[in-house]
Amino acid sequence: MGRKLLTEHINVEGIDTFDVYRKHGGYRSVEKALKTMTPDEVVEEVKKSGLRGRGGAGFPTGMKWSFLAKPEGVPRYLVCNADESEPGTFKDRQLMSKLPHLLIEGMIAGSYALGARTSYIYIRGELLYVLRILEKAIAEAYAAGFLGENILGSGYSLDLHVHPGAGAYICGEETALLESLEGKRGNPRNKPPFPAVQGLYARPTVVNNVETIAAVPVIVNEGGDEYAKIGVGKSTGTKLISACGHLNKPGIYEIELGVPVEEFIYSDEYCGGIWKGRDLKAVVAGGSSVPILPKELILKTAAGENRLMTYESLSDGGFITGTMLGSGGFIAMDETTCIVKNTWNFSRFYHHESCGQCSPCREGTGWLEKVLHRLEHGHGSMHDIDLIVSVAKQIEGNTICPLGEAAAWPVSAAVRHFRHEFEWHVTNPKEATAPGAAYRGAPVLA
């Protein structure tokens, strides 16, 4: 059993209240940071820890923090991205609703490190009950003197606000999030300037995922070097994986990075294998936007090595034979899954969620969805399969924000690895459109 750094006390009764959380060692990192460390020392520890952004991109957090512009006399902000809405990812919701004080503790330590006097948690609009939990926890933290003026007599003051979104996936993109937080339409901004220079209210801003911020207290308490000992290579620490799909034990697992994918799927400690004794067909390893991989490639890399749950191992082979760790939304699909239907479903989501600002994404996502709908319902042609690959390629890399890529990658990967299923829909439309139909033939490896 791996170490649990974030979720060790998640099942303790009343851990969402300040008193119980404090009894279990909560807010130690705030005391340590504010009383014994300078802000730069905190940043240094985070750098040493090798912590990487848990929201999907995996950018080193310490580096992001050190990029923050620090002009004199200008406020800076730390914004927590709690707009978790990637299909397949549901880790932040659980973390916030069970351990609200962990996030608040991380926000205080992080804000102190960055010199922010006001910080925001931008939470997904649908998570209204979590918003209430957080607001209650914040009120408790204010009452206990961990927020507000002159925290613990250190002279450092911080105000923390929670702000709900209005239900748009695109507001999880950091610049769209900032626009939305400013009260505008949630359209992603053109970059540069990056938020580290001009973010919220055109001030230097760091936007971090909930899980990233929740890891900060651990790093402050135990030290960056200690944290970096967990994991493999540049993938340090623990990661929450929200496993779902056709698994015996779906749920949220905190794993030490470096667990083999095979062990994660089949061992009883984690997901306990594929349900109903069926065979695994494919896995989407990091939330719906990362490329789908067939069983053979998710368990072993193209070179025949065991694939591990790390940023590097999962992306081994690039997008030809690899994928990404992403946000940790691990979707397993058994042999009864129709990949075409699944791809259409993902595509429908991105069509619905495109903000409509830039033309390739606005028009392309709709086009993809319509052609996939046609293929799935048995009206497609062989030409359509090439068409969706071509349209996906026209979107990829040519958009303002990564939503275009998120819409294109699953489609091109599905065709790359499961072209035979698309062709089966074209050649056997009657069979393929029967309820619950899925291609059961031998997989054809690209």
Binding site: H351, H352, S354, G356, Q357, S359, G366, Q394, N398
Partner: protein, 338 residues
């Protein structure tokens, strides 16, 4: 000052200039097309992706190429930057794709569209697109909406460039005009079905690159290539109005009044609704002479003015560049202003 190489042509521009504006200083066929960027409006650009270019070298200090194509209208130049536009096959292919994307939900019925002949999308598709479509599905359609008595909005033709939104936002004090909805269901609208009641509202017609916003006093009166553009001015009582316009004549009648557009279709000085909609008599104006129309435009087929060749642009180039040009002429240099 920053020196950049654009399609093999060196040009020196002030720091902070965008790649697109640097290319416009060179002029001619190397200039990337722009469907959403509009120089006088703050915040425009980056949306249509028509002006994507490849940066082969980021700067003299860091000569690595940029990983993705960048929107030239919002990316500022760095000293030593090397940019490829017409010289990059990748850029040309992507641009073809952008035309296709812009056209999949745009009706292909130019013959019945009032904007035909002066439509940026028509030009863009003609220059960079292909003549077939791969899109078989139904296109999105909307009902026509009257935004007040003078302007008609037909969302079906809109390419969501946001120019009118910025115009309404920056020229008029109270914002009632914006984008509603999301993705390909988003539409330009007023809150809620309000009319735009403002002295400068007519400018949204001029900035619209397609036939989505049209002048109701001119709609379907005449095909634009049968009218004759004449520059004129008057002393306008409105302080913010420049009073410099183009009158569009058919015979002796002024059918339409618009603000003056430069060679990139941009209005640099705005006019008020009184000048635009109410002053349609020759007696209201001091005539200046035929307005310049690009030789390639269908409107110019009636030869209102002699073709103008502006050699000054070439003469102003540094000698090394002209030598390079002689050896290696870029595409359609003859298109300069002619």
């Amino acid at each position: 000052m920053a020196k950049i190489t654009f399609d093999g042509i060196e040009v020196e521009v002030p720091d902070g200039t965008t790649i697109l504006n640097a290319a416009r200083q060179i002029g001619g066929g190397v200039v990337p097309p722009a469907m959403c960027y509009y120089t006088p409006l703050k915040g425009t650009g980056g949306k249509c992706r028509a002006c994507l270019v490849r940066v082969a070298a980021g700067s003299a200090k860091d000569p690595r190429p940029m990983p993705k194509l960048v929107a030239s209208c919002i990316t500022t130049v760095q000293d030593g930057m090397v940019v490829e536009n017409t010289t990059s096959q990748q850029v040309m292919d992507v641009r073809k794709g952008i035309v296709e994307m812009l056209l999949i939900n745009h009706p292909l019925d130019c013959p019945v569209c009032d904007q035909a002949g002066e439509c940026d999308l028509q030009d863009f598709a003609f220059e960079h697109g292909v003549s077939t479509t791969r899109y078989e599905e139904e296109r999105r359609t909307f009902e026509k909406i009257d935004i007040g008595p003078l302007i008609q909005l037909h969302m079906t033709r809109c390419i969501l460039c946001y120019r009118c939104v910025y115009t309404a936002d920056q020229l008029t004090p109270e914002r009632v005009h914006g984008v509603l909805g999301r993705g390909d269901a988003s539409e330009i609208g007023t809150y809620i079905e309000n009319i735009i009641d403002n002295e400068f509202s007519g400018n949204v017609i001029d900035v619209c690159p397609v036939g989505a916003l049209t002048d109701k006093t001119f709609r379907f009166k005449q095909r634009v290539w049968f009218t004759k553009p004449v520059n004129a001015h008057r002393e306008c009582e409105n302080e913010k109005c420049c009073g410099k316009v183009t009158l569009w004549y058919k015979g002796k009648d002024v059918l339409r009044v618009t603000a003056r557009k430069d060679q990139y279709g941009e209005v640099k000085e705005w006019i008020c609704n009184t000048c635009r909609f109410d002053k349609k008599e020759t007696a209201d104006w001091v005539l200046e002479g035929p307005a310049h129309i690009n030789r390639a435009s269908v409107i110019a087929q009636n030869h209102y003015e002699l073709p103008v060749v502006n050699p000054q642009v070439i003469l102003d180039l540094p000698e090394s560049t002209t030598r390079e040009l002689e050896r290696n002429p870029p595409l359609r240099l003859g298109g300069i202003n002619g």
